[in-house]
Symmetry: C2
Subunit: 671 residues, 2 copies
């Protein structure tokens, strides 16, 4: 028994402070571990050498504060100074990057026992190097250190983005900022800011204030806040690309400006989710006058060269129903709604080009005749990516990176924009700029958004940064544990907010039975959660079982792995670990029921808790039979049914360990 | 053994969701529990009746969102509507309050099984009533309910404040807002915003931008943010009183404007803590011209009738050293620095009066000749309060409410502005407006501030709201557990940030040994922490043992109570509980040492951990001797020394359970 890792420790397993080169995430291009350790002490200094003032000075100071917080070293205020190379960390930056696509983001980091050299062509590269260095922070009996070695690193793709939808549910500036910190830590470099939707218009327009005043519930970003967030992102080497989704997904525009719409109105802010009929009227000149003024205002506000006009999921119903629009199409030889939208996009394109912007849109905007200088974002499938790149369009992959679907990190990780065997030729490959994780907002609150983005988005960050050959899923999961901790240290709330939510739901700090259940529960994946009989709206509280449950539940994954390992090589310690685990689940149900007595909110979890108990009971039986080598034939049906029943969703959630029991069952009954 | 509450549960003890009238905090003036329960269901509605649009409409909607979050009930968007009384919650507000001192804050809340009536003269009273009602949220086997009963309530004192110092360490808007939520939940009604200090000038001045640009490290509130925070506070019935500390505590002003100072400069932002020499030059007219312009700008920005000019801790050294100032004093018959400061204050008073403000200051400003319409805030001692009230000045008590000192809630709770036996006559008593908790900023970060304010400030909130006769300390502590949970549910981070800090410090999620130690450790009290050999500055990381430790540690208190109970009535279950507790501490030390191997930051806690282990070992011996009734004489010296040693501070912290061992020791050896 002494050899067995205690169950509690297994559950709480996580990265330790002895991080080394094999903990890095994303994995650098070239790593060469060296000999010895660079020791951190109170005399540690950062010396900067830069040709022009760059992002690295404030960046190094922010980095020192983080290092200080983690080590308690109390480094002096003046740690980051201009000067000649010394015995601490020496940073050499050649140029200040423009913060544009194709900026040089490479860096070379060399750690010796005596000094650290961080060299980069641009400040962006140096910022990335600092993130790598902080991940290398280690400790031993003598204190904190960085392991000696050399890293040469650069991203595989130049566009590594995260879309945040602040419309369907409002996300305040603090949420955006802490996620920008997370992005920087994971070397992501584009915030795709989804700012208008059927459910809300989320940015102040000084030219058309009715847009945000009538088009939101009072929650929108002021231009002051927008500038502040852009500056915050810029300081971290992150570009900010705004999206105004047009001509569909635009109900919120029409609340204040029904004259822009294809149907008469009046309009109210949408509170449901799905694809709705309202759309801009693309046939009236006044609409373009309005959009010219508005988009010019926004083009001035957002410095980035790219500007996203959405373009997805316009169902055309209001166009079909409007005789004037139909007449316009006939007059102008526009064969169908695709052609009409193409006409609309061409008009938008002119406005954006006048403002010096490159237009981006979802794959629907890829229509014959649209010029080559736009960027296509592929969401519906990989075909759009192939098609666009082949035709010479720059293209981004988001299909497969929809983190709102609640799928495991592994699935996103395996989704390579340029997979082995891709038929794209060298020229077309250059057009594949990278990709973006998409955090759509139907089911997220400021409290839950972090746990929906992190740590799974680290997998996408690594896919877009590291070499294609870096693709070991179990190694990814090992490193995700440490990355999850780092992200929390830097301000993300994916773990702590869940703890708060559990205490709120339980009305108590005694949440162990709830935590034990939720550790192996995941919210329903894809869009299943919308179809469980709950009338989802923007007002539904996101404080329930499926909101406390997290996608890709780590404990569930560890159990599945433990089961796999045991079935591959059955041994006594492995069996005992599984047995302890199963007993804890079996016994948890009574405690869960007791908790529910004073917490009605948790009652919807009772079926899950009961199924987990049933699974545990049959699991214990199966384990015994397996060890004895004697399956009891008459039990097979009951056991099979119990396992099958455990697949049943409840509380818009599901148990994430059923697969492990299926494996065990098959091994016992059909070995 | 079955009767024994498991140790883990004891440690995690907290309020349950079955809150009832005896859980309320602050205790209302009159409570009459009724019969039956008002059941909450999805058809629950809030109906408003108000003579003029008031704070209650948005207030009721915020309240519904909180109720929704706690119960998961999915109440419709339209729950709060204007209309005729119905079967839900009916709110009747007669007037919109001006949000001024002496506003009527009373309310009557009547809950019957069929409906709830909340009546108040003003919207402020109704907001308080909503807080009371939410605290009554209970649950049983049939679901959520409010217990029937009637509450008539009103505050004892009209001024119930919290001072937040955002200068010595920066606190961003999000910190202020979540603490405003906490204040509202505890019926506090004044945010005293300490905005300028030696260490930072924290507000944008458009008239003199060098004040914030040079006087801060880039962290200051823009006027946009200030207006936003004032509106946020106003919506919650909280007045905002700004403080600009003058003529001392003003170094940061002089970085951009050395011409205002009494010594030539140049000045830099102060990074140390204490009382510093720089002070405004009160003898030059240009200083008053400057202050007139600046204070007028600020008087316009802050709508409240009160304006705080500080006035404390001016040491006069720069006045003494300046011949021109000395000459001025002679010319104007100003006998000493008190008289000079009095002259200065009189000039400020004119500026403030011109702007329609009432001046406030710390007790130093109470000098002969200052008019009666100012407000004195007593910090140095209770004498100033008595003196000021007797002389007819309005006065606030802050002495005894210095929550930065790390003292237990009980001590603040016992500190009554008008204690039994006060010699003040009826007239003088009217001048005692209330008090303010003061969160000074030397040792707080945005991460730790919540745990320094909450839940201890609830005790001060109750002292200022509830009747003087409400003073049972153990009952307060019982209710603090629930209040602490409520505050977290509403967004305070006093608990969750500590968990994050422990994971950061440990570099791991396996923090149990650290948590076990920190549960019985408190940061050093009063100003002792500044005198432990650490050169404190504004740059020191606040992520160490004394920052993770919290004042008035609840687990330590529970242990002391358990020991008291046992010694009062020794029984087997009590002894076993104590034994289990002591064993867990004894065994924790090895685990703590192991944790330190990879977390050097925690090593400073080893002496505390070792002392706790030693205490546990002698405690186990003492318990055995006590049970056997046979003290072993030859052990006495060693035991006494071990207990005495455990008083020794380490890592600027101390063990908070030593008293319990002293009690046990005395019982065994000197019964």
């Amino acid at each position: 028994m002494r050899k067995i890792i205690p169950l509690l420790f297994l559950i709480g397993l996580a990265g330790t402070a002895t991080a080394q080169f094999d903990e890095l995430l994303p994995v650098p291009q070239h790593v060469k571990p060296g000999k010895g350790r660079f020791r951190l002490g109170p005399n540690f200094r950062v010396v900067l050498r830069e040709s022009t003032p760059s992002r690295i000075r404030p960046g190094a100071n922010r980095w020192l504060t983080r290092l200080d917080g983690r080590t308690g070293l109390n480094l002096p205020d003046t740690a980051a100074t201009q000067g000649f190379p010394g015995d601490g960390l020496n940073i050499w930056v050649r140029t200040r990057a423009a913060l544009a696509l194709h900026d040089d983001e490479s860096y070379v980091l060399k750690i010796t026992p005596r000094r650290i050299m961080l060299e980069a062509e641009t400040d962006l590269g140096a910022l990335h190097g600092l993130e790598t260095l902080l991940q290398l922070l280690s400790a031993d009996a003598s204190g904190y250190y960085f392991p000696a070695g050399k890293i040469e690193d650069a991203p595989r793709f130049p566009w590594r983005g995260l879309l945040i939808d602040v419309c369907r549910h409002w996300q305040p500036a603090a949420v955006i900022k802490r996620n920008l910190d997370g992005m920087a830590a994971m070397k992501l470099n584009v915030l795709h800011w989804h700012l208008s939707e059927d459910q809300g218009f989320r940015i102040e327009s000084r030219r058309y204030p009715k847009l945000h005043e009538k088009g939101s519930n009072g929650h929108y970003f002021t231009q002051h806040e927008v500038r502040d967030i852009i500056a915050y992102a810029d300081a971290r080497g992150i570009r900010v690309v705004p999206e105004f989704d047009l001509p569909g997904h635009a109900t919120a525009w029409f609340v204040g400006h029904p004259e822009l719409a294809s149907a008469p109105g009046p309009y109210t802010i949408e509170t449901g989710f799905g694809v709705f009929d309202p759309a801009m009227d693309p046939t009236r000149e006044e609409v373009y006058t309005f959009l010219d003024t508005f988009l010019t205002e926004m083009c001035d506000l957002f410095p980035d060269a790219y500007f996203h006009i959405g373009g997805d999921e316009n169902n055309g119903k209001h166009w079909n129903a409007n005789p004037k629009i139909q007449a316009f199409m006939q007059e102008n030889d526009l064969a169908d709604n695709h052609a009409l939208q193409q006409y609309f996009n061409q008009r938008l394109l002119k406005i954006l080009e006048k403002n010096g912007k490159r237009m981006m849109g979802w794959d629907e905007i890829l229509q014959p005749g649209i010029p080559r200088n736009i960027v296509i974002q592929s969401w519906r499938g990989r075909e759009a990516l192939v098609q666009a790149a082949t035709q010479g369009y720059d293209v981004l992959l988001s299909n497969g990176y929809y983190i709102d679907l609640g799928k495991p990190a592994a699935e996103h990780y395996r989704n390579d924009p340029l997979p082995a065997g891709s038929q794209l030729d060298a020229e077309a490959r250059k057009h594949v700029l990278g990709g973006e994780a998409t955090m759509w907002g139907e089911l997220i609150s400021p409290e839950t958004i972090d746990s929906r983005i992190w740590p799974r988005t680290c997998a996408i960050a690594e896919r877009l940064w590291s070499a294609a050959s870096v693709k070991d899923v179990s190694d990814l999961y090992r490193r995700l544990e440490g990355a999850s901790l780092w992200l929390e240290m830097d301000g993300l709330r994916h773990r702590s907010n869940r703890e708060i939510m559990m205490r709120r739901a339980a009305g108590s700090t005694a949440i162990q039975p709830l935590a034990t259940l939720l550790d192996v529960v995941e919210p329903l994946k894809i869009y299943q959660r919308h179809h469980q009989g709950i009338p989802y709206s923007t007002a539904l509280p996101l404080t329930r079982i499926p909101d406390m449950a997290i996608p890709d539940a780590p404990v569930a994954r560890r159990f599945r792995t433990a089961m796999e390992d045991y079935l591959r090589e059955p041994d006594e310690p492995g069996r005992i670990v599984l047995t302890l685990w199963l007993r804890s689940w079996r016994d948890n149900h009574a405690a869960y029921l007791e908790l529910c007595e004073s917490a009605p909110l948790l009652r919807e979890g009772i079926p899950l808790s009961l199924r987990l108990k049933s699974l545990a009971v049959v699991g214990l039986e199966l384990l015994e039979m397996h060890a004895a080598g004697t399956p009891v034939a008459e039990k097979e049906t009951v056991i099979a049914r119990t396992i099958a029943n455990a697949r049943e969703p409840s509380a818009e959630s599901e148990l994430a360990v059923v697969e492990a029991f299926e494996m065990l069952y098959r091994t016992v009954y059909a070995p």
